[in-house]
Symmetry: C2
Subunit: 314 residues, 2 copies
């Protein structure tokens, strides 16, 4: 059986895979080669390199393992039609992402940007405007594994957590749950609004201007899901009109964020270049999900860990 990686993992990690599966043929490339694709039964990819025509070429393809969480750039229809199994690395993002979210919240509350500015000027002043995270209320939009991990950490800091999803069905580490319908009425009591929603047709521009208007003037808004949760101009207006105090963004409607975009210059916006899930341990963890799945696959069990419903996008 041929397994095609469209990226090239670190040598030590690659060696371990080869050693664990001596009877499997692995091909590691930093690009997509049609000849290899034609023969591959399993494809391991970050997802962004796969187009509809690749699915056509890959005649023998039965399983795509996506070393990422979102699959919105993949040719979902073509994959579904062929009945190809798709699995992702959901779960491995939760530690680095939750740490990034907490890093940004705490940096904001404890005045780290101010401290760094003082440092650049070599200016000793103790007039910090530090506040506390403790005792705040946070709203998590779309909590799954990542949102729940963020909730767990927020609770450790004495934060009241409210989860918001389609159904209002309970999620771990949320003090309260609401459905999307109840957003508008809940926002006025929230200090930190955090979205980790993936992009699906249901969530496109889910947040409207009236939602930002309902938030506290002191609210911190964080988008760590997908950029199209809110129209860029809606978010910009809400910030310019001071409907909220600050936004930390890791995702954007257009990525890369154009270099002349106002967000870069606005002091009320922190621009993070879609790096919140980055970690020196990312590949190691992806392979920790891939290997047991491959063992299942080799004995004909296609009930894989993190098997996705490609038609729903998650």
């Amino acid at each position: 059986m041929k397994i095609y990686f469209t990226f090239d993992p670190r040598p030590d990690l690659k060696e371990k895979v080869l050693k664990d599966f001596p009877d499997v043929e692995f091909i590691f490339h930093n690009s997509i080669d049609d000849g290899v694709l034609k023969e591959a039964e399993v494809l391991v990819t970050y997802g962004e390199d796969i187009e509809a025509r690749h699915i056509e070429v890959a005649e023998k393809l039965q399983w795509i393992m996506v070393a990422s969480a979102g699959i919105e750039k993949m040719p979902q229809k073509e994959i579904a039609k062929r009945g190809i199994v798709v699995s992702n690395v959901r779960g491995i993002h939760k530690i680095p992402m939750a740490e990034s979210v907490l890093a940004h919240i705490l940096a904001y509350k404890r005045g780290l940007v101010w401290i760094y500015e003082q440092e650049q000027k070599a200016e000793w002043s103790r007039k910090s405007k530090a506040s506390e995270l403790h005792g705040s209320t946070a709203l998590l939009i779309g909590p799954g594994a990542i949102g729940s991990e963020i909730g767990r950490l927020l609770q450790a800091f004495g934060v009241h957590t409210i989860g918001c999803n389609r159904s209002g069905k309970s999620v771990d580490y949320m003090n309260d749950m609401i459905s999307f319908d109840a957003l508008q009425n809940t926002l006025p009591k929230v200090d930190v609004v955090i979205s980790v929603l993936p992009s699906t047709p249901d969530t496109l521009h889910l947040l409207k201007y009236e939602h930002f208007k309902a938030m506290k003037d002191s609210a911190l808004f964080m988008n760590f899901g997908r950029g199209d949760l809110v129209a860029t101009d809606v978010l910009m207006n809400a910030l310019i009109e001071a409907e909220i105090a600050h936004a930390v963004l890791d995702v954007y409607e257009e990525e890369p964020l154009p270099s002349d975009h106002p967000f870069w210059q606005m002091t009320t916006v922190t621009v993070s270049p879609h790096v919140s899930s980055h970690s020196s341990r990312y590949m190691e963890r992806s392979l920790e999900i891939f290997k047991p799945n491959l063992r299942k696959w080799l004995v004909g069990d296609n009930e894989l860990i993190n098997k996705m419903d490609i038609t729903k996008g998650y």
Copy 2:
């Protein structure tokens, strides 16, 4: 009875104190007046304004409430000789300080400074060098209420915590405890070294060059206790010689840190201007300790909350 505040709290907080104790005479000044001091039975101060001669003037003084944690700048001998009761606000620092410590650790691990630099240049790059806090080992030097709170939060992030004090006696939220003697042997396995030690004769220059040499090259050193834990030139050499990767400092042997000090310019040092305990809720919390203490005092009970042993400095 006269109670002399040598600072002037926010009007709403002051009003509450006056209302709660209608039979007590309060004087609020932003300075020390010898005439008032002469009559005061209770002195409420940040501690840094009290000199030996003030103790002599304050003939009727029986209790000093220090709205701070450290008392090393106070005339300890003169106070002890007079048998004046001293209490502090130990405990109220733990939430803001623990949040500041976690903010700095997470900012370091998740590459926030790099993100902010990209932002200043309006440059989209995803080559972040982010690592994770999860799975690290942290050493807390001098854990009391603050260190234990830091330990609790670190454990929530999946960090193994080691506490280090005189006796090696157990402290909450520490996975292991060691005594000062075991420092040298423990440092090689530690990723983050955090001191929250107060300044006492025992802790002056407790950390030597050999301690930094024993730390990992990748270690993060944080001093949030008192600046004289390590001689400034020892710390500077350890950083220049890359014995450790980075230092986050909130305290210094000389404060304010002189504007020409190399620390300001070193990229391996984060200079925080002694603000880690700052919080918009500081005074409110100080008064929450003061008020029950004053109730005790008024009925002749001098076993106050946070009563200190002035001769030991804590």
